[in-house]
Every structure is written in C-alpha cells, then in structure tokens.
Symmetry: C2
C-alpha cells in the first residue's frame, strides 16, 4: 500500500508491505494549500514517481486528510458517527489517475445532533491506526494541534468527538493580540519554559474562565511575575490547560487515554495531563499509515 497523509500544509507518504510494516517513507511541504491549478496528480508524480513506476509492487494508493476535502483533489463526503475501519473502508471515494491506476480517498467523520455539528478529516485515520496499534477498541483519544480533537472510541468506532481551536487561538494571541507586544519574537524565539508552562496549566484549572485567565498573561508580564522569554510558554499552558479541563469535563473517566500526534506537542500535553494526575499513552502521527493500511485491507484493496 502507498499510504498518504496529505494535509493543508504537509504531504507524507508511506510504503507498507502486505503485513502492514512501513518499508519506506517520505515527506515534503507539498500541502494542499501550496498546490496551484489543481495540479494534484503532477505533485503526486513529482513526489513519488519512482514508487508509482513500480506500480505492480506498490499496490493501491490510499489518502487521508484535507486532500479529500472541497479544497483538495476530490471531495470524499463525511461519514457519520459511529465510524470505524469498516465504515471508512465502505465509503472510500475512488478517483482514476491519468497515468493509470487509481487513488482512494478516505472520508472525514461528522458528529451532529439538532444543535451542533463537528467534523474531522485525517484524524479518523490516525484514530483507527492508534486503536489498531494498541489492540484496543475502547479509548479516549486526544490529537493536539491547530484544531485539537478529543474523541471517544467504543468497540473500535468513533462515537463522539469535539474540536478545540487551541493551536489557532494560541497563534492569534501570540502574534496579533495586546499580549504579542510583551513577547517579541527575538526574545521568546523557540524558548520553552517548563515552569511557566506549568504555571499556565495551574491557572487554567482555577475559576475565572479562559477570557479572564488570558489577561493574566498581560499582568504577569507587566508586573514582572513571569519574565518575557517565558510568557509564550505561560500562554501555551493557559490555552492547553483550558482545552484539557474542558475536554475532561465532558469525557468518561474510566477510559485509557491515547495521545496521538507530533512528539514534541504530545509531550507538552502529557506533562499538562500529568500535572492533573492523568496518565496518557503517546503514539506518533505515523500511526495514520497503519490506519490507512487497515482501511485498505477492510476495503479489500489488498488481500488479508
């Protein structure tokens, strides 16, 4: 299988053998947003030409992420919750390639009721991959990021999930708010202050609410309670702490917590959770490749 995790800003490709072992991988900054005039197949060929030339051995191409959205190559409609490997596999969208063969797009997942709707695209594949990697069907999963997802899985299917705009809000506040002046780029640059992050997590757990706690980053800066180079870490603690507190307030407490994503970001979440006495099991984003392999097998694109 050629498994593609193709998002708005990044392109990652994995080659897996029939047993699901990753035998090769590549990545490039060739995200959906960087591609003009719908030149998706040309991008695919440019990145993976040698793999594709070897088509018989390569097996089917399966893709997850925003490449399957309205902004991407072909829109693969959302499937509703509950959604597991079989549900995703039975709703793949096939697109014939000009060069011969085809690419299969994994659908996103939608949760909705009369009041609310939530959606994910790409994370569903990481979730089924993470469940498969741990050999469990029931879990609480956190996928941190620009738009973090918290999902409940039951019997291997996603039953409920919520999105939190944590990473985006951090970036907005960091760059454009009144707080930005207190943390000039040249001072804060790549600085990661564990004590300030922890102070932000602790503050987020106190009464007051996020809109109030955010202002504490300003007063902590103005009154020198937190040094300028550490303020961004404090702010990160505030927003991540608020996300975790909100997510745990609506989640069942007896489930194993899987933390899936970029290792550095997951480590921040792990330390924030540990501060609340909660253990998490971390898995890297590459579990998405295993999710794609499992979906391809369930769709009988490859033999069992």
């Amino acid at each position: 299988v050629i498994a593609l995790d193709w998002g708005l800003s990044s392109f990652r490709a994995f080659r897996l053998d029939a047993a699901g072992t990753i035998v090769a991988q590549r990545s490039a900054p060739a995200g959906v947003l960087t591609i003009a005039d719908g030149a998706f197949e040309a991008t695919l060929s440019a990145q993976l030409g040698d793999w594709l030339d070897d088509a018989h051995d390569a097996g089917p191409i399966v893709a997850a992420g925003m490449i399957g959205s309205r902004q991407g190559w072909v829109e693969a409609p959302y499937v509703p919750c509950p959604a597991g490997v079989a549900d995703l596999a039975s709703h793949l969208t096939r697109h014939a390639l000009a060069r011969a063969g085809a690419i299969w797009f994994v659908p996103g997942v939608r949760w909705s009721d009369a009041q609310a709707i939530d959606v994910m695209r790409g994370e569903e594949t990481q979730i089924v991959g993470a469940l498969a990697a741990r050999g469990i069907g029931d879990a609480l999963l956190c996928l941190p990021g620009t738009h973090s997802k918290w999902a409940i899985a039951s019997g291997g299917r996603i039953t409920r999930f919520r999105t939190y705009m944590t990473g985006e809000l951090f970036a907005l506040l960091r760059r454009h708010s009144i707080l930005a002046r207190l943390m000039p780029e040249d001072v804060v640059q790549d600085h990661d202050d564990a004590a300030a992050f922890s102070a932000g997590i602790a503050r987020a757990a106190e009464p007051g609410g996020l809109l109030h706690h955010l202002f504490s980053a300003r007063t902590a800066g103005l009154f020198d309670r937190i040094a300028a180079p550490a303020l961004a870490s404090y702010l990160s603690g505030l927003v991540i702490g608020d996300e975790i507190a909100s997510a745990l307030a609506t989640a069942p407490r007896d489930l194993t917590l899987l933390l899936v994503g970029a290792p550095a970001l997951c480590a921040r979440y792990e330390s924030a959770l540990a501060q609340r006495g909660i253990a998490a099991d971390m898995l890297p984003e590459t579990v998405g490749a295993h999710g794609l392999h499992a979906i391809a097998r369930a769709a009988r694109l490859i033999d069992d």
Copy 2:
C-alpha cells in the same frame, strides 16, 4: 470641574457645575495613542482652549483613563483594593500645566494575591460614578468592552474585580482566524442578527468550553445552519456568553447588577443576561464624569 475621560483611542471632556450637573461636553478622537512626542498639553489646549481661558470659572481639571498610565502623560500609580472615592481622591497625582494651573490624574486600581494580579484604569471612575448615580454602595458591576471588567463593590468600594479579554478576542477571531473567511466584510458589514446572537449565548452556556464552541461557528457556517451575514453575531454571542457565564460563576448572586458602558454594547449584554433570567440596570459611560466630580470634591479640589 473639567472632567476628562481620556483613553487610548478617545478623548471626552465634561464641564460640571458645583452641584455635579453636566453643563457642557465635547469629544474627539484625540486618544493617547494618537498623540506624538508627548504633546498632551498642546492637545488639551487645542480641544478645550476656550474652557481653559475661562480658568477661574472652569475649576480644577481632573482626568481618568490611560492618560494616567505609563503610556500617557503622567503615571498615576495603581491603588490597591478595596478602593472607593476617598481612596482615589487621596491618591491623585498632580501635574502643573505650562499655561498655569494644574491637572489631577486619578489612579488606576489593582487587585492582587500571591498568584494573580488584575488592573483597571478609567473603569474605577465609572464605577464610583455609577454607584453615586444610583445611591448604592453594594453592587456587581459589568463594564463591557475590549477588556471587559466585572467588579464587586461593597460599602462604596471596589473589593474585587476581574478582566475578560472578550472584545479583543472577538476582533481577533473576526479578522484573523479561520472563521474570518466565513464572514467577509462586505457580507457581514454592520449586520446585527438577534437570533444568531441568542444562539451563540445559548451555545456558550452548554458544556464544552469556549475553545470548542468557537469551532461551532465554523461548522455552522460550512453546513449552512447559520447564514454568513449572521455568523459574526453568533460569534459575538459565543464570546459574550462565555464571559457572562464565567463572571457569574465567581460572583455573589444577591447583588444588584449595574451594566455601565456604551449603550449599544450594553444592550447586547442586557439581552444576553435576560436570556439567563438576570436583570441589569444600565448606565451610560458618562457616569464617569460624575465619578470625577465626586473624586474632586472628596479631594477638596472644590467645596462641598
């Protein structure tokens, strides 16, 4: 008394007689941020030359707001809570004018404990003015804005307050976030949709947390549950609803609620509060002029 409410972006002047009645008022976009090279006295003369020429009748000049901050003309240090008219009056900062006479700056107010610090500058004067206008000493006060303040007054003094970055966060999300694309300026322009605002208030009261509810503005837009022209009103409801829910969660419930500020914004808060079954008594920002008059009298700058 010449009473000045001089903030970062606006300048408002009131002339009050000895009894505290406003006999004249003026405003200009001559905020602190618009004044170069510290030309504060020149700005004052340009705006109020005729009043100042009539110095004997004019009486003392008293100013509140960011003009008394480090960014302003002269820094008037913060006084700690509890703070009332007498506390503010005894900590005025006097500055001699080049043209003869003097201007008195009202201090801001600070609340702090070992963990947290909060500050206000300008709102303290509106608060004491609002209490005086209603003839009460005990109240819960909400002053909505870019950085909304909620304060508890007891015996005429501010005992505790919290700042919420509501207006600033709304503007950031409205202009710079992924939500901005869903609400183009030409579509939303000055549109105020009461039903969408109310839906945002209702959503904010549900479990999930602000970071999650914000994403509902995106899905509501993408799935056409809320029309594009109404999305900004929905977003406004989400952030104002979150502020109100957070503020009420930490406030005593038996106090009269005074809502002080620009009438249009206060009307939004009043309707949001009414949706939660809470009545509020609205007062315009001009109560600050009465606050300044009371402070000037307590400081014996004018006779009783």
